[in-house]
């Protein structure tokens, strides 16, 4: 499977503990992700998903195994070789900067020429529906709008991979629902590969082209499920409900088995 865009190859991660055996967080996780996929990762709390995202983002090294993005092996040292956009659970905006300057922040760091950076900022703010709010300060915006700014910031660097760490879980359901539709639209428009971590089974089923259910610590693959229903999907599609029910049942069985 050399055509994988993102390859997580037998990744193990341990944290050393003083006077104790090392804590194994990820235990031999292998995933091949095709280009342009929307992969969601679903797992119990504290199962090492954040650690995995940190490793993919080059902020932490694997203990063994490797992660390859578009042919480049990722590590703390090679981290600038691949561009990765991130969206967090909270918007994490700099409140003292305008919306526009928030989206610019990573672009300035990448030394992108001023004119191009301005053009990109405007383009991505337009894409997330905030074209008119560039000069606003974040605290004047609603929670949903701030999360859109955060999405624009993650996209504006034109990343090789977009990492989303439960980005809609802190929003009310109606807003989250609108943003999910929005994310699918933007994903289709940009063709980026997205790794989307969530606790929400319905969200995972609705969004993803592929779903990875992982076990509690140490984290391994429990279920690797392609979802072949074409986008754009309707949230009330019965086929989605069927998958959701099936995954939920399976998920609960896994939880009970580990308890």
């Amino acid at each position: 499977m050399s055509d994988s865009y993102l390859l997580i190859d037998d990744v193990k991660k341990e944290f050393q503990r003083e006077g104790d055996t090392p804590l194994r967080v990820i235990d031999g996780l292998t995933v091949h992700v095709e280009n342009g996929a929307l992969l969601s990762i679903l797992g119990p709390s504290g199962c090492g998903k954040s650690t995995l995202l940190n490793i993919i983002n080059g902020l932490d090294d694997v203990t063994s195994g490797r992660i390859v993005i578009n042919g480049t092996e990722i590590g703390v040292k090679s981290r600038s070789a691949v561009k990765i956009g991130v969206i967090f659970q909270e918007p994490r905006l700099l409140n003292w900067r305008t919306v526009r300057d928030n989206v610019r922040l990573p672009l300035d760091e990448m030394k992108i020429p001023r004119a191009e950076a301005n053009e990109r900022v405007d383009r991505y703010l337009d894409l997330v529906g905030l074209a008119e709010f560039g000069d606003y300060y974040p605290l004047r915006l609603s929670g949903g709008m701030r999360q859109r700014v955060s999405l624009a910031r993650g996209l504006a660097i034109e990343p090789d991979l977009l990492l989303a760490d439960e980005p809609f879980s802190a929003l009310d359901e109606i807003t989250a629902r609108k943003l999910r539709l929005e994310l699918v639209r933007i994903w289709q428009a940009t063709g980026r590969t997205i790794v989307f971590v969530t606790h929400n089974i319905r969200e995972a089923v609705f969004l993803s082209t592929r779903m990875l259910v992982v076990t509690a610590r140490p984290c391994t693959t429990h279920l690797d499920l392609p979802i072949d229903i074409p986008h754009p999907r309707l949230p009330e599609d019965d086929r989605l409900f069927e998958i959701e029910k099936q995954v939920t049942r399976d998920f609960m069985r896994m939880e009970e088995a580990s308890a």
Binding site: F88, L105, E109, E132, G144, M145, T175
Partner: protein, 302 residues
């Protein structure tokens, strides 16, 4: 320009109007952004300018009330105890005609500014060390507290004993007096830094320098401003004390001189002169800078 900003601030963004159209192809409604100004904008701008005017009026009212109280009180006392506003301001006006007055004011301001500079630089460094390192905190915190408790007159006396009757002693005394308060402010500021924003910076691979400059320092700004304001108030008090004890220039020297002659009118005239200078610094430098630096924060006052 401020009216336009206020107008934008006044017209709170209605998120529902925006999110309401997501998923459909309807164009976004023009939500109170940029020109052309909607009537809502204009109303908000008018309201904002009215608020500023109201603020000035309230301040003037409180000044007038104090003046009236002073005038009434002065009727019951002789001039050597409590002279009335008229004679004090006449003396102040007379002083302002003399070049010497400005030399004394200038001397004191110079000492205050130099002392504050020392306090802010040293206090910032100590505060950062205490905030960023556990060792630094445990090593320094009791000393900062001790230094904070020592009466400022003691620093004045020690500085004069050690360095003599000169500007240097005054500046050191002022600086040392104000350092602990600045350090404590910055220390608390560093502790209040939102670490999740630092993680955001790391996730986008910002350099350490960028994270410090763009993410950490801006979060310290309100604490630095509070420290500056406190330092200014303390610095001028200790400056007059040191001048009063042992210098032959400055506002403190003048206060001592007129106190020796039991001339209460001049004592008050000099006090008012320097108070006006401090208010000018507050309203023409500190407040505008603060307003500009915290323009992103919606006001909590109704």
């Amino acid at each position: 320009m401020s009216a336009e900003r206020a107008a934008k601030g006044g017209a709170q963004v209605d998120s529902d109007r925006l999110t309401g159209v997501i998923g459909s192809d309807a164009p976004l409604p023009n939500v109170a952004a940029g020109p052309p100004a909607s009537p809502k904008d204009v109303v908000a701008a008018v309201r904002a300018s009215r608020r500023t005017f109201q603020g000035t009026r309230r301040r003037v009212m409180s000044l007038v009330a104090l003046g009236a109280l002073w005038f009434v009180a002065s009727l019951f006392f002789t001039d050597s105890v409590l002279p009335g506003p008229a004679s004090v301001f006449a003396a102040l006006w007379g002083n302002l005609q003399e070049g010497d007055t400005y030399v004394h004011l200038y001397k004191t301001i110079l000492r205050v500014v130099a002392g504050m500079a020392i306090a802010v630089i040293v206090g910032l460094i100590i505060g950062l060390i205490m905030g960023l390192s556990k060792f630094g905190e445990e090593f320094l915190d009791s000393w900062v507290m001790v230094a904070f408790t020592v009466p400022s007159v003691v620093y004045g006396i020690l500085a004069i004993l050690w360095f003599g009757l000169n500007d240097f002693a005054a500046i050191i005394a002022i600086g040392v007096t104000a350092i602990p308060a600045v350090a404590i402010n910055i220390w608390q500021g560093v502790k209040a830094i939102d670490i999740s924003l630092v993680h955001m910076g790391k996730a986008f691979h910002l350099s350490r320098a960028s994270i410090l400059r763009k993410v950490v320092v801006p979060q310290l700004v309100p604490y630095i401003l509070a420290a500056l304001r406190y330092a200014l108030g303390t610095a001028w008090k200790i400056a007059t004390v040191v001048e009063l004890i042992g210098l032959s220039s400055g506002v403190g020297y003048q206060l001592n001189y007129w106190f020796g002659l039991f001339n209460m009118t001049q004592v008050l005239a000099w006090t008012i002169a320097f108070t006006i200078v401090l208010l000018a610094i507050e309203f023409f430098i500190l407040k505008p800078v603060e307003k500009w630096l915290t323009r992103w924060r919606p006001s909590v006052q109704g």
